[in-house]
Amino acid sequence: MTTEPLSGAATGPDPYAESRETTEGRVYTVTGGDWDEFIGESAGEERVVINLGPQHPSTHGVLRLVLEIEGETVVQARPVIGYLHTGIEKNCEYRTWTQGVTFVTRMDYLAPLFNEAGYCLAVEKLLGIEAPKRAQTFRVMLMELNRISSHLVFLATGAMELGSTTGMTYGFRDREEGLHLLEFLTGLRMNHAFIRPGGVAQDLPEGYREKVLQFIKVMDTRLPDYDKLFTGQPIWKQRLQNVGYLPLDGCLQLGVTGPMLRSAGLAWDLRKVQPYCGYEEFDFEVPTSNDADCYARYLLRLEEIHQSLRIIRQCLDKMEPGPVMVDDPKIAWPAQLTIGPDGMGNSLEHVRKIMGQSMESLIHHFKLVTEGFDVPPGQVYVPVESPRGELGYHLVSDGGTRPMRVHVREPSFVNLQALPALTEGGLVADVIAAVASIDPVMGGVDR
């Protein structure tokens, strides 16, 4: 970009509302606080194309929106994505099946455990194995904790984008409670790489029950705050009610799933309709609404947090003693790690065995870690219900120790297609509310 002052020489260099001529017409760079100057200069133009993002605090990450507006009305909206593309699907093709977990957990970074669980369920389906009961219940507990922290970020960022900084601090404060608990259970706040093909990386730590109950207690006292702050609040209702309307037929056409689909009235939740990880044994409700607007999506997500707490409570009762990894030394990495002085996890008993007692074990361990395990050829598609909708893993194996193809059906990516339908014909201010109600995570959209 040029630094030459392009506005009138008589007034000197103008740092605000800078403009330049292009083949497409006159282009202005509006940075905030200089809107009046832009309006003054472009007076008489009826149709303006606004480039919102990719670096803008209210676009939910590096999402760029090309808005064509007439006055305050959006005539055309186009999402432009790809700014966070990291080639995770391609990278997975060059690692073993176990290493893939470390990659997929970084896609939808607000729902890492759903990525891990979906990927591992798909690998397990390819292998024809099933994780032990305790691992399944543990996975359910982790996923529901993750759903709570993800929905809290929706509340926090959504509120911030609409101008409620109190909502933001509330949301991030409570999400931190969830992340602390996840750190206690898995060792990391985010990007856990904790769920592995065949089970989970490690058994539950001592004293987990008290910590989880403490978390539920804290959440039970704090969740009513959101009702007090938002649910009946006139500004919140005015900004969200009857905004971003997408009825059921539109949702089905556009492939929209998750809370957005349920806000249109269809109780489609994969935990209920196609249960996995033993969800059929849990008692919980799938909240729906018929309003199909941003306010309904807010209410549904808040209610889903309550339902997730309900599932976590049941997880504690259902947790049976037993192994957390399949009993197959060709697949299972050692699953009883202790944290050493360097902060790294190690299975001391396993190290003692392979280094001191059994040469065979050392060879097997070396082969399992460097070479990985073979997966019989074939393909599977395994969907799980992530906080944003159907997260599907299409894995193809050609019989080797590395995936032939890892394709992720990302709910954020698919739901983002609904943006023009949500926003066109509405006001510019409502675009922000609509984007927030889709709740896209750009790490998942771009992968």
Binding site: G82, Q274, G378, Y381, D398, G399, R402, H407, R447
Partner: protein, 266 residues
């Protein structure tokens, strides 16, 4: 000819036939090696043939593993009865296609694997098949969950596949449609599949992604442009012959090669 090469040749001549006595191959090699170049459908090839082991070649092989041969994987056609609701869906679909006057070989093969059913469809009839699956009251696959491309590598005939996962919310069923694309064919023709956007608008972004990543041209797509890579990008990154890239990294005095140059054990 060097001695090593001579040894290799002798070993190849005396090596047991794949699947035969003395061979560790599970499947016979005959007829399953992708021939390539011939017209007509001979079953989808979903993998590449393997030779040797540990990803090593060109070294003095004293282990004997160098003589191993494994033919490419070809998903087998399912035999009736399929079991469960698979028969019902297959019968309804085939009957509905016949009613519409589509040729008998529209569905080239039905495969059932790991509890999932796959219909291999001829590309030219894909849109009509999708419309039937969506609208027929006995089928009702309302939701197109996922569209993805798969590249099986340069040595495989019909290397590019376009895969569709359809969901019936009414009946709670999932099926997979797969189109093996006749490519590379003659000349510089790009791989082509008809677009299903007119039946499932949700395929819009997903077909753009498959075009971006695999170079599959979805004919009839309203605006087939790149979606994840920059508009002026050269090549299609998820093809198998597109390098992953990366630089060697030094770690504790040793050099670790980039991931795509490390030894692969597959």
């Amino acid at each position: 000819m060097s001695r090593l090469a001579q040894d290799e040749k002798n070993r190849e001549q005396s090596a047991p036939q794949p699947g035969g006595a003395g061979s560790s191959s599970e499947r016979p090699g005959g007829g399953l090696e992708p021939a390539g170049g011939e017209a007509g459908f001979r079953g989808p090839v979903a993998g590449r043939p393997r030779k040797g082991m540990f990803g090593v070649s060109g070294s003095g092989d004293a282990s004997g593993y160098g003589g191993l041969r494994l033919p490419a994987y070809v998903p087998p056609a399912a035999q009736r009865p399929f079991g469960g609701w698979f028969d019902e869906v297959a019968d309804n679909l085939l009957a509905a296609l016949q009613e519409k006057g589509l040729p008998d070989d529209t569905v080239q093969q039905i495969t059932i694997d790991r509890g999932e059913i796959t219909f291999y469809i001829r590309g030219e009839h894909l849109v009509e098949v999708c419309r039937t699956l969506r609208d027929d009251p006995a089928l009702r696959f309302e939701l197109c969950s996922s569209v993805s491309g798969v590249d099986y590598g340069p040595e495989v005939p019909q290397r590019l596949h376009s895969v569709y996962h359809l969901t019936s919310m009414t009946y709670r069923r999932r099926i997979r449609l797969e189109v093996a694309i006749d490519w590379p064919g003659e000349g510089d023709e790009p791989p082509k599949v008809p677009s299903v956007v007119e039946v499932y608008p949700t395929a819009d972004f997903q077909e753009r992604e498959a075009w971006d990543m695999f170079g599959i041209v979805y004919e009839g797509h309203p605006a087939l442009t790149r979606i994840l890579m920059p508009d002026d990008w050269d090549g299609h990154p998820q093809r198998k012959d597109y390098p992953l890239g990366g630089v060697p990294v030094e770690y504790k005095g040793a050099e670790v090669p980039p991931p795509d140059q490390r030894r692969a054990y597959t």
